[in-house]
Symmetry: C2
């Protein structure tokens, strides 16, 4: 049996390594910082995870998920993103509220629950933040991503993801009526600073280039 704490370590390792193309290994301090615990704690936990053959590492060496560990981590990510989708689509949670609750729900242990939830939601491909939802075989389809800055004036696009999902960004997004799958029309663009005037549900706003670069669209 894998505890909730262990699941969190696996998920963290997945996000720090496998999820980002280049990196395949992490360090103790890095993991500790990510999980907001002390390096000593990570060290203890790694021993347990190594014992269970979920991670591979040697003293003073780099940390890597084993195949088994990766599979487990992907399952947790799958659950997290399915629950986020459920909260957003069915329970009227807003974009910035889903994460905290999904952090709890992702640890519920029931194979049937996950599969039925997936079916109930219509086998969604992306979660409310636009991140891909692994399928039941653990396959993840990463979509190539364009940002708002790539869209020409006059065109309409759909928001599918965000680069930075800090609370401050998400709150700003909600303020201007921006939600997942929002249709965004490009009204005009300033050559001077790259700021763009956009229209969402007949509501116009002007956002900076920095903001626009943070929005992945299709």
């Amino acid at each position: 049996m894998i505890s909730q704490a262990e699941e969190n370590y696996l998920k963290a390792l997945f996000h720090l390594t496998n999820e980002t193309e280049e990196k395949v290994e992490a360090g103790t301090n890095e993991l500790a910082f990510y999980l907001e615990v002390k390096p000593a704690t990570v060290n203890d936990m790694l021993k347990k995870l190594k014992e269970k053959e979920l991670v591979s590492y040697k003293k003073y060496g780099k940390i890597m998920l084993t195949q088994q560990g990766r599979e487990y981590a992907v399952e947790v990510v799958r659950k997290h993103r399915l629950w986020e989708t459920f909260l957003y689509e069915k329970l009227e949670f807003s974009w910035d509220e889903v994460h905290e609750v999904a952090e709890q729900l992702e640890h519920i242990k029931s194979k049937k629950l996950v599969e039925q939830l997936d079916r109930f939601l219509g086998f969604p491909k992306i979660d409310p933040h636009g991140d891909p939802i692994p399928n039941s075989k653990g396959e993840i389809k990463y979509l190539k991503r364009k940002t708002l800055t790539d869209i020409p004036v006059g065109a309409v696009c759909k928001l599918v993801a965000v680069k930075d999902s800090s609370a401050s960004f998400l709150q700003y997004a909600v303020q201007i009526g921006l939600g997942l799958s929002s249709k965004i029309k490009i009204i005009s663009r300033q050559e001077f600073d790259g700021s763009v005037e956009i229209e969402i549900d007949n509501k116009r706003s002007t956002v900076s280039q920095k903001f626009a670069e943070n929005l992945f669209v299709l």
Copy 2:
């Protein structure tokens, strides 16, 4: 913050006392048996719960929930039964599969989640076992639970729970084709001894009044 273990003790106390009209207090051994832990463990936990003013008890005395403890317990029961309803109605879980998963889901902490789930389900009054679901104010409307003996001849009902689940009863049930969520049609009833002829999946059997009283139906 109240831990999952603590929540389970409160819920157990509620079921052993407040839920049954007569009893208002429980003993250490009784609680231990119910929770499948040892009396010593219960004793330790009671000290914590007393400290938090969720139970009242004195050394060698009886255990009782405080008003606060009762309110908390009802909230947990509410969550449990809402989740059972969700699993049964939306995710195609069968009658006997919902409990185990609801035991996990009831500990998720999010006020909004509970209220939205309740709304999503259309503010259900009873769970898939026919037990009442407390409303958001903690009020519980106890309905008289119907048994097979309350169903008139000619009507059809659905099995939702059993009073006694001894092996001898279950074996008998299996023999006559009675399973969870079985649809039962009342063919005839003997005035003399209250025995009933029933039909399950086109198969007829005659059962005693004692047997019929053991079946909760909807």
